[in-house]
Assembly symmetry: C2
Homo-oligomer: 240 residues x 2
């Protein structure tokens, strides 16, 4: 039976052996929710980058550039970190270079993994079904907030552990804790997430509708997968 582990913070990622794992990167508010939305709405690929300057320079190579720091869109960039801005039909077929405070950092930290996919509540079932088919060991890597554990990524990790609980065995305590938290709060994720520190931060930015959107399950039936450094939508044409 394959195993599933949860890592609550990028600062704990070095405790895990990634080489033989499929890593599911999660940053619910809002990086991975944006990535799922963008690819579902027709964006061709997303290049995750760690720093703002490198991201900006990609404009010269024909990329649209997206950057968020501390919850806000960085000045001079085409896009920020609201999923609604990625529903624009003008983005169809475009390549986007993307950097965020937490989510894109975790993708970079996970580069030694066997495979990297991107999860959000928006594509929960699609990710779960994909992982069931692979039958390989899974690590869910929560982006957190600047190294700190957060509520929303932990709840997603728990939701995915729960979805996989029949076919996978939980391989660390964090997976058990996350699953229990999800089972307690699955009936009203928003109520619990609203207590958390990052939401308190985002509330000051006026993006309540983003938060509500990002907590919706199974809006999109896609699996973003990292291929040659960029995230693309998994299709039968993409070789695994």
């Amino acid at each position: 039976m394959p195993t599933i582990e949860v890592c609550f913070s990028p600062n704990l990622l070095s405790l895990h052996n990634l080489n033989d794992k499929i890593v599911v990167v999660v940053d619910i508010l809002r990086a991975t929710s944006c990535m799922v939305t963008a690819l579902a709405c027709g964006v061709e690929s997303i290049l995750p980058l760690q720093d703002v300057e490198t991201c900006k320079s990609m404009q010269l190579q024909g990329y649209l550039v997206a950057a968020e720091r501390d919850g806000k869109k960085v000045e001079g960039f085409d896009l920020g970190n609201s999923p609604f801005s990625y529903m624009d039909s003008h983005l169809q077929g475009k390549k986007i270079a993307f950097t965020t405070t937490n989510g894109t950092q975790v993708i970079k930290l996970s580069e030694s993994a066997k495979q990297i996919v991107v999860g959000a509540f928006l594509n929960l079932s699609a990710i779960a079904n994909y992982l069931k088919k692979q039958q390989g060991d899974v690590l869910i890597a929560c982006a957190g907030w600047k190294g700190q554990v957060n509520v929303e990524d932990t709840l997603f990790a728990g939701a995915l552990v729960q979805e996989l609980s029949q076919e996978f065995s939980t391989a660390n305590d964090s997976a058990l804790l996350a699953q229990s938290l999800y089972l307690t709060h699955q009936g009203n994720l928003l109520a619990f997430v609203s207590l958390c520190s990052h939401v308190q931060r985002l509330k000051n930015l006026g993006i309540q509708k983003d938060i509500e959107f990002c907590l919706q399950k199974n809006v999109y039936e896609i699996v973003p997968i990292l291929q040659n450094g960029s995230l693309v939508k998994l299709t039968s044409q993409v070789a695994i």
Copy 2:
């Protein structure tokens, strides 16, 4: 209103500013449960040390020496890491030098704190009452297992957050998560803890009665506090 934070792993401790905090160190299975038991049963002081060799050398200075690595007593030491071994009346008035895989390491990592106390289910109410009187900001530092988050320390952190919830405000998401987990499992801590990885490890060592003992609440009415590098029982004579 003072604040309460939880840190799930020693590997995340550097994200917290300890200078102005009272740090509650917790390693339920079994370092801090042993420390509470020992001081409650008459041991004069406990010197927490990081490495086995330094600890052993304290024998020459009249200390009893205690060491645990990977759940087992280290050969050649007077004591290991079972709370029952600290109930011996021969230990009254003795000084013990103590090193463990996780718990004593966290005490060392917390040295910049305003104050360090030691918590366990065994002295939950005593710790909570002490903290309420201090009215200072609190950080609960979970020892975990070799950097990994664990179930039993997280549940204790949640129990303490819950005890303090009227007088303190929760200052990070980990505190909210721990509190929620405790509220879900408070009716049967043993059932949930029995699922966790460390207990699976300890089961192989045949110490089920240690686990059951360490999950009992409010057996002892004492607060172990670090004074001049050693843990002593807080009394009205100990200057804070």
